[in-house]
C-alpha cells in the first residue's frame, strides 16, 4: 500500500470543513440558539473544539506517530 500523503488530511479537513462551517453558520443564525445562555455557549465551544480535536488526532497520526 502506498504511503499516505498530506492530500488526504487536507481534503478531509477542507471539504469536511466546508460542510462543518455551513453547519456552524446555520447554528449561529438559528432562531433558538442564544449564545448569551451558558448551555448554548458551551455546546458551540465544544463543537468547534471537536473539529480541532479531530484535526489534532489525525495530524498526530500523520506527522508524529509514523516517525516514533
Amino acid at each position: 500500500m502506498p504511503t499516505p500523503t498530506i492530500s488526504s488530511l487536507l481534503y478531509q479537513y477542507i471539504v469536511g470543513g466546508v460542510l462543518f462551517v455551513i453547519g456552524m453558520i446555520l447554528v449561529f443564525k438559528s432562531d433558538v440558539v442564544d449564545l448569551k445562555l451558558r448551555r448554548y455557549r458551551i455546546m458551540v465551544i465544544w463543537l468547534i473544539a471537536g473539529y480541532f480535536i479531530y484535526l489534532a488526532i489525525h495530524s498526530f497520526f500523520f506527522f508524529v506517530a509514523p516517525r516514533l
Partner: protein, 613 residues
Amino acid sequence: MQEILGTPLDYTVMIGYFILIVAFGSFFARYTRTTKEFFLGGQRFPWWIISFSCVATLVGSYSFIKYASVGYLYGFSSTMSYVNDIFLLPIFMFCWLPVIYFSKVLSIPEYLGKRFDPQTRVMGTIILIIYLVGYVGINLYTLGVALHTLIGLPIFWAAVAVAVFATIYVVAGGQTAVIWTDLLQAFILLIAGIGLFVGGIFFLKHHGGFWNLLPTGHKYALAYFNKPADFNFVGIFWQDAIANSFAFWMMNQGIMMRFMSAKSMHDSRKAALFCILVLIIVASVTTSGGGWIARALVSAGLLPETLTGKEAFVRAAYFLCRPGVFGFVLAALTAALMSTVDTLLNATSAVFVNDVWRPHVVKKAPDRHYLKVARIACIAGAIIGIALVPIFMRFKTIYAAHGAFTATITPPMVVAIVLGCTWKRYTSKAAFWTLLGGMILMFVSIKYDILLTPFSCGIPRSGWFFIRALYGLVVSGVIGVVVTLLTAPPSKEKISGLVWGTEREGMIKFKGAEPNEREGKQAVLRIKQVELSDEEDIVKVSPKAMELMQANTGDMLYVTDYRWWMGGLHSTHTKAGDPITEEEDFDKVYIPKVLMDRGRFKKGMKVRVEKIF
C-alpha cells in the same frame, strides 16, 4: 476440516450472557403501557444513556470482523469509517434534532409527510420498510456466519436463536428495553474490545513492543488518497464520512427514535455531542484494536504470516484470552448484533404502525390496539428477517441486491432529509423527484459506471463503487435544487417548526406557550401526593424552588427520581402550577395521583425537579 474455537466454559459464558440480556430486557415490560412508551420510552432518558446505547447500535455484528480485518491489513486508517462524524454534527444537533423533537413526529416518513406531502411519505415508508427488514436479515445472516465460523453452529439456527432472544425483550419492553439493554451491551462491547487491545499491548511488551512491531505504514490514521482501489481515502470519505454518516444519524429510524427518547432537547444534543466527540473514537479502537494486535502478533512471529484479515480478530482474541474470557469476547460479538437488531425491530414496528396501520388500516382506535399491533409487527419483522437468512445463504445475488438497494437509496434520502430540514424554499415536488430521480440515476450508474467518471478522483475503476455515494449526492442535490427553483415555494404555515429557522415556532407548538429559556438549577424535593382540583397534569413547588429553577407557572417541568443512575425510569414531564403557599411544605413537591402513576413515584420519595423550558 473447519477448526472449532472455544471451550465448554466459553459457550457457558455466552449462553449465560444471552439469558442475562433477555431477563434484563424483559424486566422493562412494566415500563411499557402505551405506544409512546413502546416507541419512545416515554421520553424520559438522560443524555448519557442515549449516548452509550447509540454506540451499541452503531457497532454492528460485522464491525469487529470487518474493521479488525481492515486494521490488520492497513493499520490505524481502519478508523476512517468511524472518526469523521464531526463534520455533520452542527447540522444534526441544531437543524435536525429540534425539528424532529419539537414536531413530535414518530418516524422519518411521517416527517416527510408533514414537511412535504402524502406521496413523499408513501415513498419514504416503502423505502424504509424494505431497508429495515432487509437490514435485520443481513445482521442475522452475518452473525450466523460469524458463529458458524467460530463455534460451528449452523448459520440459520444461530440467527434464529439470536433473533428469538432479541424479539422477546423488544416485544416485552419496547424502546425502554432496547435502550437499557443497549447500554449494558455497549459496556460489554467496549470492555471486550478495549480489553483485548490493552491486554495485547501488555502481552507484546515482552515480545518487542506493540509500537515497534507495527509496520510504519500502519501508523497513519488516513489512507493514501486514491489507491488502492479497495481501500483509499477519498472513496471512504464520500461513502462513510458523508453519505453513510448522514444516513446513520438522520435517516436511521432507530437512531431518530433514540434521540426522541431523551428527556429534553438539551439532553438529546448533549448525547449526540458526547457520542461523536468521545464514544465513537473509543468504538473505533474497540472494533479495530483486535486487527492491530493481530498484525503485531504476526510481526512477533506469534501468529502465522498466512493469517487473513477476516481471521484477525478471532485469532488474536483466541490467542490472548484464557478459556471463559474468550466466551466473553464471543458474547461481545453477539452483543453487537443484538443491540443493532433490537433497534431495527423497534424501528420497523414504529414505521409500520405509524405509517401503514394507523393512516391506512385502522385510523381511530384506542392506544392499546396500536400497542398490540406494534408488538405483532416486531414479531413479524423478526420472522421476515429470519426468513431472509436462508435466502441470503442460497442466493448471494439477493444479499448483494440488498446492499445495492441500500447504496442506491442512501444518497437521495440523505439529500431529501438534509435539504428538507435546512432549506425553507425546498418544495414537496422537489423532495419527491429527489427521491425518485436520485434512485433512478443511482440504478443507472450501477448498470453504466461510465457515469461515475467525473467523480472518480483518480480511483482505479474497480474501486468506483466507493465514489457512487458522491455521484448520488451530486445528482440528487442537483435535481432537488433545480425542481425547487422551478416550483412555487411552500407556505410559511406549511413548514412552520419543520425546517431550520422555524425551530422557535416548533418549540411554541410543543409547549403550547412561549418558551422560558432562563437558566435555572434543579430543585431537590420530596413528593407529597395531593388532590389538585382544577387541572391534574401539573405539579406545585414552593416559590423558592420556582426561583431556583427560574420557572414560571405553566412552564414544562421534568420530575425524576433523585438517584441519577435510575436513568429516568421513575420520571414524568408535567407543567408548573401556581406555587405552594403552605410554608411547612416548602421542601415538598405536590403531585396528583395521575402523575404519581405515570411517573411511577412513591409517596415521600426524594426527587429532582427541573425546568425544561
